[in-house]
């Protein structure tokens, strides 16, 4: 059995009576791009800081190639990191910033020059050696920070929301660069973000953090098509939630009553059903079909609003019980031509694409 490259085991972190991280564990393969996704305060950054050695966990261990990192101070961990804020050394030129880790390691001058050049080439900033950080854009500064974090070939690169200070267009451009750099260098990356789109675009696997715990780890498609919890369902992709009651359940599939006599069968059920049978039915807006003719098994709704989103059209509807349901249809779909507000419609869906959370 091969040991995992990087293993996070039962990490817990408390500050006095406040628990920042309840229990976090995972194995990460060499060369993997793993993203910690979650809202602020979910413990993802704390976990990253524990990996970096800026904080000690209350409990748990971190093993890199089978050896515990915890007793090694930050500066000896040989880990690379790019921060949320701009952390280039303002008194040093770009070239000297990138050379910094190598100078600390007392590498020969010729090797430093060569590796700084290669690192700047990797982030497409060749020839910027003599620039001062203050004279660069935010995107450029983060690229230099990336070059500085990679120049000493660390086995693991940590990235703490490195693009959150940049505007959307620049963010997407650098996301693409990070992907390319990951593929070119093969470095193992742990990436923290609260942006699901960024997580989906970059990662091999995503760990969804919620309240100091990991709700689910999986690839983007896995999380999208088979969310383990209501929180994951709400965080990855867009979703509608309807109150429902579990009428019967068998082998992970449930029969649900939606009120108004509407009943759906064979919906994948997650979590142990409670005595009351109360559950949440999750429906993806893009997996709903809209019919203007009455469908007996459909959910009867009233059209509230129609929003043009470019290639999609979003139809906001409400059930008779007042629950909001949005439907996303391709632009030009015949069901929505001349559809008007206040009109009655019926929504249907493939039960396999829906999920119930008890």
């Amino acid at each position: 059995m091969t040991q995992p490259f990087l293993s996070i085991r039962g990490i817990r972190k408390t500050y006095g009576t406040v628990t920042a991280v309840k229990s976090v564990g995972m194995d990460i393969a060499e060369g993997e791009f793993m993203t910690f996704l979650g809202p602020s305060g979910s413990g993802k950054s704390t976990t990253l800081y524990i990996l970096a050695g800026f904080q000690d966990p209350t409990d748990g261990d971190i093993l890199l190639k089978g050896r515990s990192l915890l007793s090694t101070p930050s500066h000896k961990r040989n880990i690379g990191m790019v921060f949320q804020r701009y952390t280039l050394f303002p008194h040093l030129s770009v070239g000297e910033n990138v050379a910094f880790p190598l100078r600390i390691r007392r590498r020969p001058q010729a090797e430093i020059a060569e590796r700084v050049k290669a690192a700047l080439k990797l982030v497409r900033l060749e020839g910027f050696e003599d620039r001062m950080p203050a004279n660069m854009s935010g995107g450029q500064q983060q690229r230099v920070a990336l070059a500085r974090a990679l120049v000493y070939n660390p086995p693991v690169l940590l990235m703490d929301e490195p693009l959150s200070a940049l505007d959307k267009k620049l963010r997407e451009e650098i996301q693409f660069e990070i992907r390319r750099i990951h593929q070119e260098t093969g470095v193992t990356i742990l990436y923290v973000t609260h942006d699901q789109e960024e997580a989906l675009r970059l990662s091999d696997r995503i760990a969804v953090f919620s309240q100091g715990e990991i709700d689910q780890i999986g690839t983007g498609p896995e999380l999208y098509s088979n969310p383990a919890t209501r929180f994951v369902a709400g965080f990855i992709g867009d979703s509608n939630f309807l109150d429902a009651t579990v009428v019967a359940s068998h082998a992970g599939k449930a029969k649900l009553s939606l009120g108004d006599g509407a009943v759906v069968e064979d919906v994948p059920l997650h979590g142990a059903s409670t005595a009351s049978g109360k559950a949440s039915l999750m429906l993806r807006p893009e997996r709903l079909s809209l019919s203007r003719a009455s469908v007996p098994s459909g959910i009867a709704v009233t059209v509230r609003d129609i929003t043009f989103l470019g290639n999609n059209v979003e139809v906001s509807t409400a059930t008779s019980a007042g629950a909001d349901l949005s439907v996303r249809l391709p632009f030009g779909h015949e069901a929505i031509s001349s559809l008007a507000r206040g009109e009655k419609a019926w929504l249907t869906f493939d039960t396999a694409s829906a999920h119930a959370f008890a």
């Binding site: 690379g80 990191m81 921060f83 949320q84 050394f89 008194h91 880790p101 203050a134």
Partner: protein, 283 residues
Amino acid sequence: MAVTVATGAVKTKREGTFGYLLPALLLIAFFFIVPVLMLLVRSVLEPEPGLQNYAVLLGSTTYLRVFLNTFMVAGVVTLVSIVIGYPVAWLLAIMPERWSRIVLAIIILSMWTNLLARTYAWMVLLQRTGVVNKTLMGLGLIDQPLALVNNLVGVTIGMTYIMLPFVILPLMGVIRAIDPAILRAAALCGAGRLQCFWRVLLPLSLPGIAAGALMVFVMSLGYFVTPALLGGTANMMLAELVAQFVQSLVNWGMGGAAALVLLVVTLALYAVQLRYFNPARGT
């Protein structure tokens, strides 16, 4: 037409700004520039026109020793203030706010205490039978009391104490402005505590060190009370010399010349600081 209007607007605005500065400018002009000019004039006119005052001042070993004493004491005081003040400033910068407020209050309160009272306190502490000597002798570290007052040692100790806040306050501001994430980044790059300090923290706090050092050095050059009380008659400093010329010898010519030499040195130092450590220049 439009151009004329625009220029007019700018002019009005500038005049407005100048108006606000006027009271301060008048004050400085009457109470600083005019007296300085009068000193300059008297230093070259009294007792007779010529540069002989400056020739005497810069040509005699007695007076040169006064200059030497002054620069040496100011230099040592500056150096010691920074060496002692830097760790304090750093601690103040990283301490939790409620603690740093208390420490800061203590530092500032000491600045508000009467200068003479503080200097006499040092005389009591440092004299032959003072607390310092008694403690050292009690511990068996020395047999004879050390000569800590009426010499430059006493002056240096007393002045360092008085100057410390002037180093700590600007340094604290500069260190506080350094993003801790930059130090974390340095640590992950492999820099241990010492390297973080030498390669990152110290260079980044250099503007604060320069500002504090200049302030302390310049203030020390012209300091009067502490050298007069804690120093001996044998080790005169420049301000004492000026006072002696004016008060005892009523020689305004020599007094003015000495004061102007001091002013020129001060301005030169200020120019150096502006040139090399001006934060606006990004260095």
